[in-house]
Symmetry: C2
Subunit: 283 residues, 2 copies
């Protein structure tokens, strides 16, 4: 059988997973919106270390985009994605239509509090409702034993953990390190929007975040360090900085120096919004 | 082993259900808030017809009560409930604490649209969020094949169906007929609040709803028939009528005469709020 098997209905997904379960196999899931890059492929690799079978969902979820956002132009390249999944030895690609995920009359929303507060939510107020709802659906459709999420979307990772804990979804959530290019730029499907000149600026985001993390670890004042980071981003050529903030790694509560921390940022290059984050050592 | 087995942790619940699954047994669930009466027992009977094992949850869910409502005085009588479940041959009683269901830091809410609009929601605006969230949790904890809900809480039954459909919760929802006393009064844990005089008035609710259903079936104007029902309820001694409305049986959209309908009402006797509903034949 050629891999990955591609299914676009929940019924076919469940039938395949039922067969695997019957054989006693452990199933891992990697939810994606497609436009797969090395970051996604690293998640597939981890999935196959943690389980016998890897399901990758490819679904550009409309409910996590605001009307003003890039839903229509978000890159869609299924043939390329399937090629990459074949090389990565993923077992199944689940490629539902919008109608399969949200049939006529669909009317339910999951809102996760806690780690969803602030950061992305200040700028994308309905984003995490969309993420939580679609992730819960995917988990209930595929019933994986574990699921892999990249630390690149760090707040999302925390929200998904909270979702599973709160709703008793029996899925182990595994966070995976951000994959970066040779210049440290975090892999993102949205990097495809960047021209050459923008790409050069984009590569300063991780450099400035690393400086900030080092300064915070060394004892710099949080307000000073993050304000300095914002200034540096603008000086580097970013059009606008949505936030640079230090938070507690586990809860995303405001960072206290004696806890593991994370410095997170979102900034704009032209019409492209980039995010990144790095850990801050407690001391 | 004495039945029902009583467990108060999710871990113990899951262990028992895992054992049953290993034996190939089908599991039905009856979610309740305790204070079990003949209505609940009828749900257990149906559960045991539909499945090999019946789990009854007993949990007075704080998130479905508004601060002004009767959470504190809601009847709690576990020993009596367990006696009734023993006679009814329920297999397992799940009696979690509030802390087991909502540990510190709990922060997730499920909102179901569609059938939740109007009726109860106009008077208990956060009620169905509380119901949907706790039912989803119970289903994810117990993973039943089916669950039985009484038609007494008709809008709740519709909301739970929508919840399962929208979130791909693989639980078959079975609606069960309302159980009534010799006077037609729908069984309800809240009937325990009623004194003798109030009980006599309460028994008019189903009589007036039946008159309304008959009038609607015979072709009466909806607005006239429901207004007449409200007047009759007040004349019978009800202190206040929250609503009397005709809705489509399946969707709870406004009733159209060519569809199966349901007439639903909520009214107050002193501090006690009663609800009931009956079907209206399409014609």
């Amino acid at each position: 059988m050629s891999r990955p098997v591609v299914v676009d209905s929940v019924a076919a997904l469940r039938a395949q997973i039922r067969d695997w379960r019957r054989d006693g196999l452990r199933v891992a899931m990697v939810p994606t919106m497609g436009a797969l890059h090395d970051g996604h492929i690293s998640l597939v690799r981890i999935a196959l270390e943690k389980a016998d079978r890897c399901v990758v969902s490819i679904f550009v979820n409309p409910t996590q985009f605001a009307p003003t956002e890039d839903l229509d132009k978000y890159p869609r390249q299924l043939a390329h994605d399937l090629d990459r999944l074949k090389v990565a030895k993923a077992d199944l690609a689940f490629t539902p239509t919008v109608g399969e995920m949200y049939p006529a009359g669909f009317a339910t929303k999951i809102s996760v509090g806690g780690p969803s507060a602030g950061l992305e939510s200040d700028f994308r107020p309905t984003f995490f409702d969309g993420v939580a709802t679609v992730v819960a659906k995917l988990f209930l459709q595929a019933t994986p034993d574990c699921a892999i999420f990249g630390e690149k979307d760090y707040q999302q990772l925390c929200v998904v953990r909270q979702l599973c804990r709160d709703l008793d979804l029996p899925v182990e959530i595994i966070g995976a390190p951000t994959i970066r290019d040779a210049h440290g730029l975090a892999m993102s499907s949205r990097n495809a929007y960047l021209g050459e000149a923008e790409l050069k600026i984009a590569r300063q985001l991780n450099v400035i975040l690393r400086d900030t993390a080092v300064a915070l670890t060394a004892g710099a004042d949080q307000g000073d360090a993050t304000a300095e980071a914002s200034r540096a981003l603008v000086a580097a050529g970013f059009r606008k900085v949505d936030y640079v903030e230090a938070r507690e790694s586990l809860t995303l509560a405001p960072w206290r120096r004696d806890r593991e921390g994370r410095v997170l940022a979102a900034a704009w290059l032209g019409k492209t919004r980039l995010i990144d984050n790095l850990d801050v050592r407690s001391n």
